[in-house]
């Protein structure tokens, strides 16, 4: 039975109560305790730096060549915090409610409340680190509003908020590396988790430059490895983002929660050909002034500027008059897909919709638009060669954020004692849909404030354990398994490179387990993934050996995706309702909106690994709403 270990007491006192009663480790004992942190994004860097400051011994690793390159760096928009600097009525409760409503009432009240509660302190922390947030002429911090809320609570540093927050965390981490409390291992990839007597005790990592396998022991292991949206191949994620670390942990016993909930971002650049490797995200802020439309006729080959107003279908304004072009991400994405699937898509591959600024330019003047979005227009021109001041942008939805991840309790501990998951790698706070500017927040809050308070509660019982013996048979067994798996991949020597399988898998998932899902489609997808996996193990081709070899790295990740993709389909198949990013065609209102089922599906799906080619085992964590009452999200 899943125990989320939510503290007693009223919602607003839970976290304070927890912190007052959690066990502590005295400073004299901290250097006897080793913590392994996998990933150096916002959650990983900030946790490693915090634990290092406290005096624990930390080993921190990342697959990038520097900790500063983790994909948190790419977040553009901002970070939410309820400071109420604008005096517009923001409170912790309001932020909590916005987040839980935005998540379509599929997240834990206690976790979400804590997220809102810790948000204000994060801004203080970042400013102390020298993060150059935007400021008013008075010298005080500036805010802007973001989708899905009525207050201005988003702090930002131009369009590079993620970069600036990450650099703050990275610098804090570098300070600890210099002080000797954190040992940092860039270009290292975790390939297995070592579990001894039911507790997470270490990991097996591969030095990606030399190919050597290394054993690292620790009293606790923290996975802050981000999301796995790259499973769709075409996504807004970095090329190296992967789900391998959490997947290996899952296969060692950690439950995987809500794997099928992936946010599809509506404003990305469309695919232009088979060679395409990623879909670049254009900031959502563009929808403040851009109008989204497709031609009314299916085979309209005119250039967009030649299509007169009566022949244009502003479908968001038509379907959702109240929110129009600013409808939430899941709704905008789904509406775009509906039009594209119906044959109204634009562009050479008919896979995009127009985002038109002509009215905004006419009404506000080009200089004003340039001031607001100049950098985005320049980026658009760099990538597509098209001047968006002259003709509309072409955009399309793309996989962006994984709401699902390893199941964690209130302490962010997975179902394996001593194994924690932070940030996007866990499932905790966003429910079935994430609000804009909440992902940076969650990663930072997990890493700076929550895990540094909850991990000692576990470590307090480990003081007498002593150093973890890496010559323990469990380490040897894991290392041998990893070595064998790598060798298997290298030995297949078939005909197709790993990317071929990745692209095929991505297309299947996007089609059947993407913006809209159906029972038939999902069953079909499971079958296809099965046979794709068989092909993979017969036909994969990796030139070279197990030293520095980027093809081997890719193949290992794709092998895990081929198992994870199947779990996603099982998850989507069992959830017979539509909520947030999860839209089941069978469960919709007569006018095509999501139909949630709170009576039967107000739970978190936590999946247990049952073995390869076996159906995974579903565990349910009921979601008890003590404070809020789930309502129907309406943006009409």
């Amino acid at each position: 039975m899943l125990n989320a270990k939510i503290p007693e007491g009223p919602l607003q006192d839970k976290w304070r109560h927890y912190r007052s009663t959690a066990k502590l480790v005295s400073s004299a004992n901290r250097n006897k305790l080793q913590v392994i942190v996998v990933g150096t994004g916002l959650a990983g860097s900030s946790l490693a730096a915090s634990l290092g400051e406290m005096g624990y011994r930390v080993t921190c690793l990342c697959f990038q060549d520097s900790a500063r390159r983790a994909h948190s760096v790419a977040a553009q928009g901002g970070v939410n915090a309820c400071k109420n600097y604008k005096n517009d009525g923001d409170t912790v409760f309001r932020m909590f409610y916005d987040t839980i409503k935005g998540g379509d009432f599929r997240s834990r009240e206690a976790n979400v409340y804590r997220l809102a509660e810790c948000s204000a302190n994060l801004i203080d922390q970042a400013v102390a680190q020298g993060v150059p947030f935007a400021r008013e002429y008075s010298g005080y911090l500036s805010n802007r509003s973001f989708g899905g809320v009525q207050v201005s609570r988003t702090f930002y540093a131009r369009g590079q908020t993620g970069q600036q927050l990450l650099l703050g965390a990275y610098q804090a981490l570098m300070r600890q590396v210099a002080a000797g409390s954190v040992s940092l291992l860039p270009r290292h990839e975790m390939l297995d988790l070592v579990v001894i007597d039911g507790k997470a005790r270490g990991i097996i990592v591969r030095n990606m430059d030399s190919g050597a396998l290394e054993r690292h022991g620790g009293h606790a292991v923290v996975l802050a490895t981000g999301g796995f949206g790259k499973i769709y191949y075409l996504s807004t994620l970095a090329m190296g983002c992967n789900g391998s670390a959490i997947w290996r942990a899952h296969k060692r016993g950690a439950f995987f929660a809500n794997p099928s909930w992936t946010q599809i971002h509506p404003t990305c650049l469309p695919q232009s050909g088979d060679y395409q490797s990623k879909l670049t995200l254009m900031s959502e802020s563009l929808r403040n002034d851009g109008r989204i439309w497709v031609p009314k006729g299916r085979e309209d080959h005119r250039s967009p500027n030649e299509i007169p107003e009566p022949d244009r279908d502003y479908y968001l304004e038509r379907r959702y008059p109240a929110f129009g072009n600013l409808s939430p991400r899941d709704i905008s994405s789904r509406a775009a897909k509906e039009r594209i699937d119906a044959g109204y898509g634009v562009g050479p591959l008919k896979n995009a919709v127009y985002l038109d600024f002509s009215r905004a330019i006419r009404e506000q003047g080009k200089p004003k638009i340039e001031e607001k979005y100049g950098n985005l227009f320049r980026m658009y021109q760099k990538i597509t060669g098209v001047d968006a001041y002259q003709q509309p942008m072409r955009i399309s939805p793309a996989a962006h954020f994984s709401m699902g991840g390893l199941w964690v309790d209130y302490e962010l501990m997975t179902t394996i004692p001593g194994l924690y998951a932070l940030g996007e790698a866990n499932f905790a706070d966003h429910g079935a849909n994430r609000l804009g500017a909440n992902s940076l927040l969650q990663a930072c809050v997990d890493g700076y404030f929550i895990a540094p308070a909850t991990i000692p509660n576990y470590l307090a019982n480990e003081i007498k354990t002593g150093p973890i013996p890496i010559d323990h048979p469990a380490f040897a067994e894991s290392e041998a398994a990893v070595r064998e798996r790598l060798q298997v991949l290298v030995n297949i020597q078939g005909k197709s490179p790993a990317d071929h399988f990745h692209k095929t898998l991505g297309a299947v998932l996007y089609d059947k387990c993407g913006l809209s899902r159906s029972q038939g489609g999902l069953k079909d997808a499971i079958g296809k993934i099965h046979s794709l996996r068989d092909q993979f193990y017969n036909d994969l081709l990796i030139p070279g050996g197990i030293d520095l070899n980027s093809e081997l790295e890719k193949a290992g990740r794709v092998a895990d995706y081929l198992e994870l993709g199947e779990l996603m389909c099982y998850d989507a198949l069992t959830r017979n309702e539509s909520c947030g990013a999860h839209f089941r065609e069978e469960y919709q209102t007569p006018d095509g909106e999501a139909l949630r089922n709170d009576r039967d599906f107000a739970f978190t799906s936590a999946w247990e690994w049952a073995g390869i080619d076996k159906e995974p085992i579903l565990h349910r964590e009921p979601l008890d709403f003590e404070v809020v009452t789930p309502t129907v999200r309406s943006y009409k």
């Binding site: 900030s46 915090s50 400051e53 990038q64 060549d65 520097s66 900790a67 500063r68 390159r69 760096v73 790419a74 400071k83 203080d124 922390q125 970042a126 400013v127 102390a128 680190q129 020298g130 150059p132 947030f133 400021r135 002429y137 010298g139 131009r158 590079q160 970069q163 600036q164 990275y170 610098q171 570098m174 300070r175 860039p186 970095a238 090329m239 050909g273 060679y275 395409q276 490797s277 990623k278 670049t280 995200l281 760099k382 990538i383 597509t384 060669g385 700076y448 404030f449 540094p452 197709s496 490179p497 990317d499 071929h500 081709l541 990796i542 030139p543 070279g544 520095l548 980027s550 093809e551």
Partner: protein, 246 residues
């Protein structure tokens, strides 16, 4: 379009390398430069040859991981653009493109186009931070910072650490990288406090990594994807000289 590539191939740090010719007969002008390399790699893999190793990750110009010399210029023929944002329409049908790794003694080549830029991390370790520990930070608005100062600090902080400044510098100087961090923190009240130690420690680390002198040719600013200004170098010099004088 047809493209001839001359790519630097080097198996590892200790082996010597050379340019190898590849002929790509069918390149789509809408491809990014890295996607063009992906296509080449796919072909090489199918021919059971070792693919070209190159660094890349976000492919939207912010992570700073990609970077190579393309036709003799850092990140290719366009100014202020990362390699991943360079598209093949910047070249002409029939062009020959030279692709080499970033060169500097402080950036040893690991394999093909991959170089080791960990020297940058060590420069930051020497002092590129504020010593603010987690928790207990004062209220964010307790110290107002003028709008222009915050913007100027951002301009410096925007550095993505790609190393193009070093690669394009005739002296392989890391002055722009180091100066950007020093300026970012020197402008803000939170960073000023440790300014004196910071500039001396970071400069000393920069020197000990084996980077060259800054000759103020300003080439780094032209190639920098974030258009970091060379004036930051002047500020670093100012801060450094002041730290010696006081």
């Amino acid at each position: 379009m047809r493209i001839q590539l001359k790519i630097w191939r080097q198996q590892n740090r200790s082996k010597s390398g050379q340019l190898v010719n590849y002929d790509l007969p069918d390149v789509n002008p809408d491809m990014s430069f890295l996607e063009m390399l992906d296509t080449l790699n796919e072909r090489l893999v199918r021919q059971r040859e070792r693919p070209v190793e190159f660094d890349h990750d976000c492919r939207e110009g912010i992570c700073g991981q990609c970077g190579m010399m393309i036709n003799g210029r850092a990140h290719g023929p366009l100014s202020n653009t990362t390699t991943c944002q360079l598209h093949m329409r910047a070249f002409r049908d029939g062009d020959t493109i030279y692709v080499e790794p970033f060169r500097a003694t402080a950036f040893p080549v690991k394999c093909d186009l991959k170089v080791d830029r960990s020297a940058f991390d060590r420069i930051i370790q020497a002092g590129g931070y504020t010593s603010a520990s987690t928790g207990g930070a004062p209220e964010a608005n307790s110290i107002p910072i003028a709008h222009d100062v915050a913007e100027a600090a951002f301009d410096a902080a925007a550095c993505i650490g790609c190393g193009a400044c070093v690669a394009t510098c005739k002296n392989s100087s890391a002055a722009l990288f180091t100066a950007a961090k020093i300026t970012h923190l020197a402008l803000l009240p939170q960073g000023k406090i440790e300014g004196r130690q910071r500039v001396r420690r970071m400069v000393r680390q920069m020197d000990s990594e084996g980077f060259g002198h800054c000759s103020n040719t300003e080439a780094c600013q032209v190639e920098c994807p974030q258009q970091i200004s060379v004036l930051h170098i002047a500020r670093m010099n100012w801060e450094y000289n002041r730290s010696l004088a006081m």
